[in-house]
């Protein structure tokens, strides 16, 4: 047994020219080749991704502003992580299913979830109003890591439904479990790895390593690169430039294909950065330095796509203006929708606990309704 040299195992710094990091588009907007991965996207499709990125960021900006104005209780910004989310989200087929954390606004966008639903949750109107079955997008999960087991179970359900490895590409389906770098320390996440490995479940573990879990840097969760975690469980792990939408798309697509074909799980580490605060309640100046932020600003996920598109014919000024205008309209939709959102009624919560209401709870509702109406006379 030789002592491990930590330097040996700690791996890449995450810079784009590190061979371990899959990158197809440099921060400067230049395309790169990779031996194993290529994005099957023409420039028009890339322009589409650009639009997704911009619109997603706009939702985020608007929501942050609404929170500042007291319209949301809290907001978890995805700033800086748009490429990881749009790239992976667009790699999904309609029959696939995503299990998000609380920050996957870009994936929600790809799944056709109206952003107002996301705002509703952070406003405190409900806990996620969209239909997971219709959208193939699970409810936001706040307990760190819990959804990775749900994803694995769902993937086991796909196996039992015969829609894994059937050879019918229009039916075969896979699952993506989203989670953060911090989440990799939770028992549940590691149990999900074991389950997925043992049952060869069609699930992609998509970890957005944004370098921070609230105030804790990645070193508090691991001493080797996270994608190598998969080695311990017997399935492939890959680190992708999480700010490169093309690479995220290509890597996720390959992993999802593998899943749908019945070749089992894959761990994807999207190496990215949380540009904002953990949530609007957080104050990152207490624990991290500005120059780290500046270094990552230079790797912005949107700027590089824009730079690339400028070198193509797929996008002209009119295109960029059109996207801006769409973003403005979306922002209006988000703002007005948020302000106009009706409050829930307390009596409704009694009906949402069980599929089959209990007499106890029905009685509580009745009594509380009577109590509430006793005030009405008073006004």
């Amino acid at each position: 047994m030789s002592d491990p040299e930590l330097g040996d195992v700690f791996g890449p710094s995450g810079d784009g020219d590190d061979p371990e990091l899959v990158q197809l588009l440099t921060p400067e907007g230049e395309r790169r080749e990779h031996p194993d991965y290529a994005a099957d996207l023409d420039d028009e499709a890339i322009a589409g991704l650009y639009r997704d990125l911009v619109l997603t960021r706009r939702i985020d900006t608007e929501a942050t502003a609404l929170q500042r104005q007291g319209e949301l209780g809290i907001w978890a910004s995805l700033l800086g992580q748009e490429a990881a989310q749009i790239g992976s989200g667009r790699a999904m087929l309609p029959q696939d299913f995503a299990f998000p954390t609380y920050r996957e606004h870009g994936v929600a966008w790809c799944r056709g979830v109206d952003p107002l639903y996301l705002l509703g949750l952070f406003r405190g109107v409900d806990q996620g109003g969209w239909d997971p079955r219709e959208t193939g997008f699970g409810l936001y999960t706040i307990v760190i890591g819990a959804q990775t087991l749900h994803a694995t179970g769902y993937a086991m359900g796909l196996q039992r439904d015969g829609v894994v490895g059937s050879g019918d590409e229009s039916r075969d389906a896979g699952v993506i479990a989203y989670f953060g770098d911090g989440a990799t320390s939770q028992g549940d996440v590691n149990e999900a790895f074991i389950w997925a490995s043992v049952f060869n479940a069609p699930v992609v573990f998509f970890c957005q390593n944004n370098q921070w879990a609230i105030s804790e840097p990645i070193e508090r969760q691991t001493r080797i690169p996270l994608y190598q975690r998969a080695l311990g469980f017997g399935f492939p792990g890959v680190r992708v430039d999480g700010n490169d939408v093309l690479a995220c798309y290509a890597v996720t697509q390959a992993a999802l294909r593998r899943a749908r074909e019945g070749s089992g799980p894959t761990f994807v580490e999207a190496y990215t950065y949380r540009m904002g605060a953990h949530t609007t309640s957080d104050d990152p100046t207490r624990y991290r330095l500005n120059d780290e932020l500046d270094r990552w600003k230079a790797k912005d996920p949107i700027a590089r796509v824009k730079a690339y598109l400028h070198t193509t014919t797929a996008a002209d000024d009119q295109f960029f203006e059109g996207v801006e205008q769409e973003a403005d309209e979306l922002a209006t939709h988000v703002r007005e929708g948020c302000l106009g959102m009706p409050d829930p009624h307390v009596l409704d919560i009694f009906d949402q606990v069980y599929a089959e209401q209990t007499p106890e709870l029905a009685e509580q509702k009745e009594q509380y309704a009577a109590y509430l109406s006793s005030f009405e006379g008073a006004h």
Binding site: Q127, R133, G153, Y154, M156, G187, A192, I194, W195, A355
Partner: protein, 324 residues
Amino acid sequence: MAQITMAKALTNGLRAAMEADPTVLIMGEDVGKLGGVFRVTDGLQKDFGEERVIDTPLAESGILGTAVGLAMRGYRPVCEIQFDGFVYPAYDQIVSQVAKLHFRSQGKLPMPIVVRIPFGGGIGAVEHHSESPEAQFAHTAGLKVVAVANPVDAYWMIQQAVASDDPVVFFEPKRRYWEKAELDESVEPVPLHSSRVVREGNDVTVLTYGPMVKTALEAAIAASEEGRSLEVIDLRTLSPLDMGPVAASVRKTGHVVVVHEAVVNLGMGAEIAARISESCFYSLEAPVLRVGGFDTPYPPSRVEEEYLPDLDRVLDAVDRSLAF
């Protein structure tokens, strides 16, 4: 009619549920070839295959967490927890996910999951194998909780629990697994969430469930020899509680003793006592007395007989109630 043990009644009930509905799955540690450490799933993997009767990795959070995903995909997982004391690693998934997803999704994601838990003491086991954690689940909104006391109920209640679109935590009194009764399948079962008078009487109402129903009935027989008439109610459902038969009985007797193995402090008896005094305040001639575990961890098995409520402790409480 043939006599059947509670364990076997559960097997038959599960088998019937699996035959009736192909989405019913069984999952847990050793539930396959071994048929579970109590043999409740005996033969089911052989007949329904490894896809429907799943020997899982050794991790309870994983069992419940994957069950959630399977339920979202339209399956009805019946999860076996090997022993009461091993449900805690799954506690988070149960209380924060299983119990809450229907609510979180405003009904879009029902959670038809059954969590089977062999519970209670009296089998001479080592630590963590004799716990009674039912109150903690009953306190959790979004779960339904039941406890079975006899083979006939076991046969029907497991099927009703599997058919329920709500999550049901299903407690099986392991010391009663080998007790027998006649099972007449043609007799219609009562609803899952109903309590039931199992012996009529006039002097004192004894409320209990699971393993202690037998103890209470034995106490009632002993009491009757001394001329005291105990009415015994098997609560059957712990959440929601079915207080109708309870209130009727209390109005008749004015005296109540609640019996369970779990620690008295914040055990089911606390809630029942509170509710009875809310609803039957003027009928009570004595406070509701509680007989149960002391405020200690479950002790080494050589003293469990003295730790567990028994016939004498029930009768003692009856005496105290009547003497109040």
